[in-house]
Assembly symmetry: C2
């Protein structure tokens, strides 16, 4: 089993690599080879006994997709993208990386099959809840229409359509997953508008102050990094014929308010930790967050065996286990 991860140096890419190395198998077959591609070279995973190749390469650059497809991996995880804010600020870069990069990959896989003989890898693609735009129903169902209100969401929606069509034509075996907002996101606070959803949990758990820029009744859609990795592995292992030609799924998640995040933090870590959260309303962030999805009805993904956390307490405990070695406090 040869696995290629594109976007391997990112947060989800690193956790996925670690999970695959730990399990040692995918689809019941031993993982003998890993190819890790990203714009910066990913670290070689510790404890892996198979062949590893790390490539510092840009999927949107000429030739990269062809080189990657020629490696004929059995399973390809395509996680590479620039984020929403950057795609909105740099229109050309967003289309080049998020749309053209994915199209090059699909086309390179097709051409590899034409030139070098039958090639039909499972391609797991990470899409986004950004393919949806307000106004929303109370919970976004599997047949809600794609109405992106950002260039990022448009690019992801286009990739979903291409993934369907290339799969339908038998050029690739694609499965797309729309990830919830990953919480608790490890690392330092960043400038993403969604950053506070993680910051208000992660920073206090490390004994640091965190700023809450919105009101406590803001509702959003969450899954842990561990759940996200689980979605991707399940997407690689599932029977894709169950998807028909609607190849992208909204992943399950947890709909919770900021207030519910804080009360879960109190239950798990106590009042003192919660007291490190400081209210500081930010009108810009309030406005952005107002246009985001709050809740989903992910019947289809759940029926197909995808699983997420059902409480915020669980999400916080996963962070404490996976990132803090089980220990709370700075």
């Amino acid at each position: 089993m040869h696995i290629l991860i594109i976007g391997a140096a990112g947060m989800v890419g690193r956790k996925l690599t670690a999970a695959l190395v730990k399990s040692g198998q995918l689809r019941g077959q031993a993982i003998s080879r890993l190819t890790l591609a990203d714009v910066i070279a990913a670290d070689k995973p510790a404890g892996f006994t198979g062949a590893v190749e790390t490539l510092a390469t840009d999927l949107s650059a000429p030739g990269t997709a062809v080189t990657l497809a020629a490696k004929r991996a059995d399973v390809i995880f395509h996680l590479a993208a620039i984020v929403s804010g950057e795609a909105e600020a740099d229109f050309d870069k967003g289309y080049r990386i998020n749309m053209d990069g994915t199209r090059y990959l699909l086309e390179a896989i097709r051409q590899e099959g034409i030139k070098a003989g039958s090639y039909l890898p499972r391609l797991v693609f990470t899409s986004s809840i950004g393919v949806f735009g307000a106004p929303f129903p109370e919970a976004i169902a599997d047949d809600f229409f794609l109405t992106p209100l950002t260039s990022y969401g448009t690019q992801k929606a286009i990739c979903e359509l291409l993934l369907n069509d290339y799969s339908r034509k038998g050029f690739v075996d694609g499965v797309g997953i729309r990830l919830p907002t990953i919480t608790v996101r490890p690392g330092k606070p960043n400038l993403a508008a969604s950053g506070f959803f993680s910051n208000i949990l992660r920073e206090p758990l490390a004994g640091l102050e965190a700023v809450l820029p919105v009101s406590k009744d803001v509702r959003h859609w969450f899954a842990s990094p561990r759940a996200a990795v689980g979605f991707l592995i399940h997407a690689a292992e599932m029977d894709s014929s169950a998807l028909g030609w609607r190849r992208t799924l909204s992943a399950p998640g947890l709909s919770a308010t900021v207030g519910e995040e804080i009360e879960a933090l109190r239950r798990v870590a106590g009042d003192k930790v919660v007291s490190l959260i400081r209210d500081e309303p930010n009108p810009t962030i309030i406005k952005i967050v107002d246009g985001w999805p709050r809740n989903f009805d992910t019947k289809r993904a759940r029926a197909l065996g995808f699983k997420a956390e059902s409480t915020m307490d669980e999400i916080i405990k996963i962070h404490i286990e996976d990132e803090l070695g089980g220990k709370i406090g700075g």
Copy 2:
């Protein structure tokens, strides 16, 4: 008022050109200039006193879109595409013409604005009911999701997403229209799977035999060529801000069965004409047609002033008026 029509030599393009020349104005402004582009040169319209330029050019070829955008037309109608059957048979050609061609045009308009100063033309784009795929609800509502089951439908759906995003970013003022199946399509019978919907009306009205390959209870979604031209002109004239960032509309039409087509033909033209229709079931066509939309609920387009025929009798009479000089029989 300078109008550019891309795809001007096709059936809808020719009728649109004639209607614009006849009216002499668009948005209350006299039409002073017409630029007619297509892969084969369109005929110069008779009776037009303004400047006319006809261009034999391929929108998907390098430089074409830049040349067309540099003409800085006030209104652009983009009707150029290869049809569903051809796009399904020739994957590369379909993506090149139906997707890349449209993207080149959008990007050339954006670049024209950047390079030569503010340019925000109204761009009217013809999409298709092929963006939808079975299973369908009884009537497809304005918020039904895009699930194309053909490469053609995928390409049109991607263009709709690009049109939204370029409009939202202020690079173009786009309006997309998903046309119903145009009936009665003038000209000779063609090999399109949908051809019989027109053939069974047009051929008998001309005193010729026609083959009916499906059962009489097959239901489909129709509008006359005259209505289609009306949609395009209304799309050019309407207040596009009423669309928000959902820039493409399913046009109104008439949902009717083949049996209803035949009974309307009987009312308009009599039993002798109807007797020229010969049943000859074709399993291939029956299967294709089974996956097509049957009915739409086009609340949004109707509220915005788009109008279609409400009876099949009306559709047949329009054909007799516009194509047969009011006369039935060969």
